[in-house]
């Protein structure tokens, strides 16, 4: 009786150990994937405030901002985040005469700027906190 159990369990042990290793490697992989080598000294970008490892989806530490940037769950956005609490097209950041403006695109769960729910188009300033879904970004403008 014990022999049979032991022989069955040895396979189970090995499977569990390898699943364990695999799940840890996957977590670490998600962690590394987000590190982008670009330097962001004198540009404008969004910086992730959450700790990346705590999020169950891929997200980068930094997102540089261009003339017009869409953020959402859909693949046609400039910033794609597969967070279920983010809408397909969630928000837009647009540059106009050197200033950056944030606009919510009628998203289901809304966009929050420094804790306030966004109703209208708002001009962004350095150090603003933008919350969407489960994540929070810091707006950094070094221009």
């Amino acid at each position: 009786m014990f022999n049979i159990l032991s022989i069955v369990f040895k396979y189970i042990f090995i499977i569990i150990i390898y699943l364990f290793i695999f799940s840890i490697i996957r977590l670490i992989y998600l962690d590394i994937k987000g590190i982008s080598p670009i330097t962001l000294n004198d540009s404008t970008y969004l910086k992730l405030i959450n700790r990346k490892e705590t999020l169950p989806f891929k997200v980068k530490e930094y997102y540089p901002l261009g003339e017009e940037v869409f953020l959402g769950r859909g693949n046609d956005n400039e910033i794609v985040i597969k967070d279920p609490y983010i809408s397909k097209k969630h928000l837009r950041i647009v540059k106009d005469e050197g200033n950056y403006f944030l606009q919510d695109l009628n998203s289901a769960n809304g966009t929050y700027l420094n804790g306030q729910r966004l109703m209208d188009v708002v001009k962004l300033k350095n150090g603003d906190r933008i919350s969407v879904g489960q994540i929070e970004f810091l707006f950094v403008n070094n221009e």
Binding site: M1, F9, F13, I16, F20, I21, I25, L27
Partner: protein, 409 residues
Amino acid sequence: MFSKGINYKVPRNLLFIFEMIALFLMFMYYKNSLDRSTIIYGLSLIFIVYISNFLLLKITTGDNYIFLIVTMLSSIGIIMIYRINPQQGFKQIVWIGLGIVLFFATYFMIKKIKSLKSWFIYYFFASIALFGMTLLLGERFKGAINWISIGGITFQPTEVIKILTIFLIASYYANYDKFKEKKWGNYYLVGIMYLFIFFLFLQRDLGSVLIFSSLFLALQYIYHEDRKLVLLNFAVLILSSILGYIIFPHVRIRFEIWINPWEHIDTTGYQITQSLFAIAEGGFFGTGLGLGHPDFIPEVSKDFIFSAICEEMGILTGIGIIMLFLILVYRGFKISINQKNKFFRIVALGISILFGIQSFIIFGGVVKMIPLTGITIPFVSYGGSSMLSSFIALGILQVASEELDIEEV
């Protein structure tokens, strides 16, 4: 946040399932000689491990992988130790429990203390005091003096000195600019390390000599500005190992066993050949727990635990353990790279190198890849001092993984 750490559940639960199955199997194996306290201790250890992994995710802002990996390693270790010898297994359960407590204690303590990096001289004198105690009060055990017993408690001072040495080296290089200005300041650390290695030679603790010198060389190679000195140290190490081979007969014996253990199978080579038989016997999937004969190997629960695991749980588990160590050391390096504070950066690097080298020396030793020196595998082997000091080192590594608010002077 609603789903904070959602994916950490996977490895945590896998670990839990693994431990429960193992516990069940062990009780089936020892069902005739069960006593209740073992069950309670085993279950509470599983509970502590699960809770600790859960709590750590909430407490720390740093790394969350290293503790998971380490608890997996000690779970594999304890299953094997318990199967070989229930009394030792029972003690080991207590050691791991204490180790986890110490891990958290170290974590909170090290975070509080702000002036660790300027205590160079204290680390030095504490190490010397421990070395002195070992030589005066030590008991010779299998050729090496590395045990002392005070009031019924026996422990290995070298395990403590390892951590002190890492602190010593780190505080030296963190204050390197200050030391450089002094006369001979460049040679302080080298002198101290040779003194330590000399002490270890007096104790005839070859495994520790190897650990200390490689730890020192690795850190010196990374941080020392005088490159000639680093090369010189390499040369001295090679020369002294050749000298050791000529002078000390027990070094020569180790080397001869490594070249050809089959000639000495009935005497000095018995251990290593039994280890090789055990690994070969196990094959890919092992014989199954309780169905092999790991007890043929002398010292199986300490130095040769790896062979026992390979025999009963298969070489795949053995490879798994090596991979776990690989990830652990990788995380250690990553922590070190991310750490801004120079002292903790060197400490993190030192601890990862320590784990890496220790596991490499013993894994390499039992599979006859390098000459065998008897040391323990951190977190896996049986032994109180080794388990506790490894958990303390892990606690320090956990602190180093966080962003610290200690100002850089």
